[in-house]
């Protein structure tokens, strides 16, 4: 890619809603776009307050950047990270829709921070939903600017031109034509329209809504795609950093010892709270690390039971986050049912550990990293090497899994620190044990639910108390914690959407000695596990079918209708209620997260205390579907990851340390135990919602409910274990 140069050409930057900046580079012209709409800004605030986007400076809007080459190739530079969720393809479909080009004409790249800064990061399932309308408007505007220029050059009226795959042709004489690439080359001046052109209606879409193949896969299946761990530059060195053994471990003194004289060692850096080695090879760096003289303060040697006791409803601070009617009074009527649920800490287990390569030079700082937030990395690296943010350029590359963990800037900061110390590029790429000990985990949770039922099985009242360690607050300015009180990341999924006249949700938050934070879906999986298990318990107490019980409690509005449709589609697809093989049973759970509805039905059996999930049927309704195969892939993937957490995963603390430091002690679900997952995709609205996280919500409860149906045993704690 070539750098955009300053243009001598005239610009008009007048429009309120967005700006297009032109510049002439060696390879073509560029159109960079700053989305500055009040609409988008409102959405950003919304994400932060309600749904758990990562911390950011919300004053700066996110951007996208187009480059149109003479051969009519459109390069789209995006500030969103591709970590397997398929967003580069989805966003390309959206842009191509209004640009009227084929997907094969478009290439998508991660934008480095010297081009674009995205303060939000890639998280909270918001990429498609936040960029959908701006990208459509931008693409349509660009198309109409090009049309006006074509009309001017051909001396005709714009409406006399037909447009096909980036080529304008005169209707009356198709030999008269101009391509996007030609028009970009010869452009003198653009005047932006006062408002964006009329957009297509969804029924006119030809790219959106189709299961187009992922644009990033051809290079991924040949091994050519470059991830954070893979970046190689001339003269690079390898860094290794000393790590504590305990969660509160702190370096109190360090000296080089014999490390400096070990083979391949270029530099030893020992400071009061940091010790690292730079060597010619990775193995040499790690080998030399063992020769440092280090003194650690292990901190308090916490035990698992102590941490679990901290996370208990009634401990810490509480905020009522939902209140309708009078729950206290209504709970005294009818039949009272109460249950409590727990989920453990969990590790992301992204298969590419954190990795970054930094080159701290006199001119500037270049960093390559697999990151969910290039902007966050830029700020952290700038601070670490005491440079201005503008001097730091982060090149995001493909992520080998993210799941929330790759918001972390540690590897990049350490690589920059060691590069500064040596004057050469340095890679810091964690071992698996380093990735465990330096990380943050999904916080443990404790939920108590109470409800009263009338004689028909109708809920009179429901009360939900959700206790958790923090998710978002550790990553936000301290003021947010004081202003908001309850951590929106922790209580994600805790709000009760069923129609009950009296309902209340209280979020309890406790401080923990373990670092806790973002994990796919944040509080969604723990909270939905509790709520949807409890709904199943209520249905059972009311002697009603779990679907029938849910249908009795749907709101009488568009949302309720969508949920009804999804439940009915799931029942049909899974043959709900039909005879099953001996010992098998089905369980159902659902969620409403952002505007995405998920219904999941698990078919389970239990033999010799082993839980076997044979099949999962899911219905996904994300509103408007951009790419149905992408929706299916995210649903299958998140359900499989969720099953791993449902059946196997827990991070345990012993004597102040994580008991597990690698996959021999932290097993994940494997292929033979992973069920076939059949997905029905519903297209119900005119705008899209997210798909990255919502499908992980219901699966734990679906399995627990199926186990109850199969065995009569109610499991209220993850990972599920038959006792």
């Amino acid at each position: 890619m070539s750098e955009p140069a300053e243009s001598g050409k005239r610009r008009r930057l007048s429009r309120r809603d967005f700006l297009i900046v032109l510049g002439v580079g060696a390879a073509g012209l560029y159109a960079g776009v700053r989305f500055g709409t009040p609409y988008l800004r409102l959405r950003l605030v919304d994400f932060l307050e309600e749904s758990g986007g990562p911390p950011s400076n919300i004053d700066a809007p996110p951007d996208a950047w187009f480059e149109i080459l003479p051969d009519n190739t459109v390069n789209l530079f995006l500030p969103k990270s591709e970590m397997g969720q398929g967003v580069h393809t989805g966003l390309a479909q959206i842009a191509a829709e209004e640009l009227e080009i084929g997907l094969d004409q478009m290439k998508v790249y991660h934008a480095p921070t010297d081009r674009l800064v995205d303060p939000v990061g890639t998280s909270a399932s918001n990429t498609i939903s936040s960029l959908y309308t701006p990208l459509l408007e931008l693409s349509a505007t660009l198309r109409e600017l090009l049309r006006a220029e074509a009309a001017k050059q051909l001396d005709v009226e714009p409406q006399e031109l037909d447009l096909e795959e980036g080529v304008f042709r005169l209707s009356s004489d198709p030999s008269q034509q101009r391509t996007y690439g030609e028009l970009f080359q010869s452009l003198d001046e653009w005047e932006l329209p006062e408002s964006p052109p009329a957009l297509k209606t969804p029924s006119e879409y030809r790219h959106i809504g189709r299961p187009l193949p992922r644009l990033d896969l051809p290079k991924k299946i040949t091994g050519e795609a470059i991830y954070g761990f893979d970046v190689r530059v001339p003269d690079m060195l390898y860094g290794a950093v000393a790590r504590p053994e305990t969660i509160e471990g702190r370096l109190i003194s360090s000296s080089a010892g014999q490390a400096a004289s070990q083979p391949g060692v270029i530099k030893v850096v020992t400071e009061s709270d940091f010790a690292g080695v730079v060597a010619e090879s990775r193995e040499q760096a790690y080998q030399a690390l063992t020769h440092l003289q280090l003194e650690w303060d292990a901190g308090r040697l916490w035990q698992q039971e102590e941490i679990e006791a901290l996370v208990t409803v009634g401990e810490g601070r509480d905020v009522v986050i939902q209140r309708e009617g009078n729950v206290k009074q209504a709970l005294e009527l009818g039949t009272l049912i109460e249950a409590e649920y727990r989920t453990p800490m969990a590790y992301h287990a992204h298969l590419e550990p954190l990795a970054a390569l930094a080159d701290v030079g006199s001119e500037g700082v270049e960093v390559w990293a697999s990151t969910q937030s290039a902007n966050r990395l830029r700020g952290a690296v700038a601070e670490a090497v005491q440079r201005k943010e503008e001097e730091v350029n982060i090149h995001p590359v493909y992520l080998g899994g993210g799941f929330g963990r790759k918001i972390d800037e540690l590897a990049a900061v350490e690589a920059a620190h060691l590069s500064q110390a040596t004057g050469r590029p340095v890679q810091v790429a964690f071992t698996r044990p380093e990735d465990f000990i330096t990380g943050f985990v999904r916080p443990p949770t404790h939920n108590i639910l109470r409800a009263s039922l009338d004689e028909n099985g109708q809920m009179l009242a429901i009360d939900h108390q959700a206790s958790s360690g923090a998710v978002a607050f550790p990553f936000l300015p301290a003021i947010m914690s004081r202003v908001l009180g309850a951590d929106f990341g922790s209580y994600r999924g805790a709000i009760l959407f069923y129609a009950v006249p009296n309902k209340q949700t209280t979020a309890w938050l406790v401080d923990l000695p373990v670092s806790t934070g973002w994990w796919r879906g944040l509080g969604l999986m723990p909270n939905v596990f509790a709520i949807e298990s409890f709904i199943d318990e209520l249905a059972s107490a009311a002697n009603l079918d779990p679907i029938e019980f849910r249908l009795m409690h749907l709101p009488d509005d568009e949302r309720g209708q969508r949920i009804r449709n999804a439940l009915q589609a799931a029942a049909k697809e899974a043959n709900w209620g039909a005879p099953l093989p001996n010992g098998h049973a089905q369980g159902l759970a659902m969620s409403f997260d952002y505007e995405t509805i998920m219904v999941e039905i698990a078919e389970v059996s239990v033999e010799n205390d082993k839980i076997q999930v044979h099949k999962v049927t899911a219905v996904a309704d994300p509103g408007l579907v951009i790419n149905p195969d992408g929706v299916m892939a995210q649903t299958q993937g998140a359900i499989t990851m969720g099953l791993s957490a449902t059946l196997l995963e827990e991070v345990l603390i012993k004597d102040g340390a994580f008991q597990a430091s690698n996959f021999n002690q932290y097993p994940l679900l494997r292929n033979a135990d992973a069920p076939d997952i059949n997905v029905v995709v519903l297209n119900s609205r005119e705008t899209p919602s997210g798909m990255g996280e919502p499908p992980i919500g219901p699966i734990a409860a679906a399995v627990a409910n199926a186990i109850f149906a199969a065995t009569g045993q109610r499991l209220r704690r993850l990972p599920l274990k038959i006792s």
Binding site: I221, T222, G223, H350, G400, G401, T431, F663, N671, A672
Partner: protein, 163 residues
Amino acid sequence: MQLMINEEVYQVADTPDRLLLWVLRDELGLTGTKFGCGIGICGSCVVHLDGNPTRSCITMLSSANGVGVRTIEGLAVSDVNGKKMLHPVQQAFLEEQAPQCSWCMSGQMMTAAALLEENPNPNAEEIRQAMNNVYCRCGTYYRIRKAVERAAEINALSERSMI
């Protein structure tokens, strides 16, 4: 010492006790083979040594001495005109849109290619068992199984040998 990788000769430093993974990735720049755990569990680092699927993160360079090494970079072959032809496994993984982040996929595909070389018509259970020791955190197991089935079909239709 010399290594034969993807039918090409590479000169590498004479470090027989160095792990093959880091020689491939750091010394030779063949970064298609991935690191995941370093203890031979996750399978992201699988390569072939004389056709056998092998975890390069726990394999010494000395074990690669005198044997044919194949990595993901060598799974596709060039035809007589120099045009790259995907291996049936790669083609099938693409057709089924199996990869998500794809970090594990070179290990998955190398494992699948070795399976089909040994057993060109595996049944569903044989596929499950053969693919059971390669982790995928994005949760693509179901699509991986479909892709391996599809690769066997493509292979049966093609004239060309698998490896």
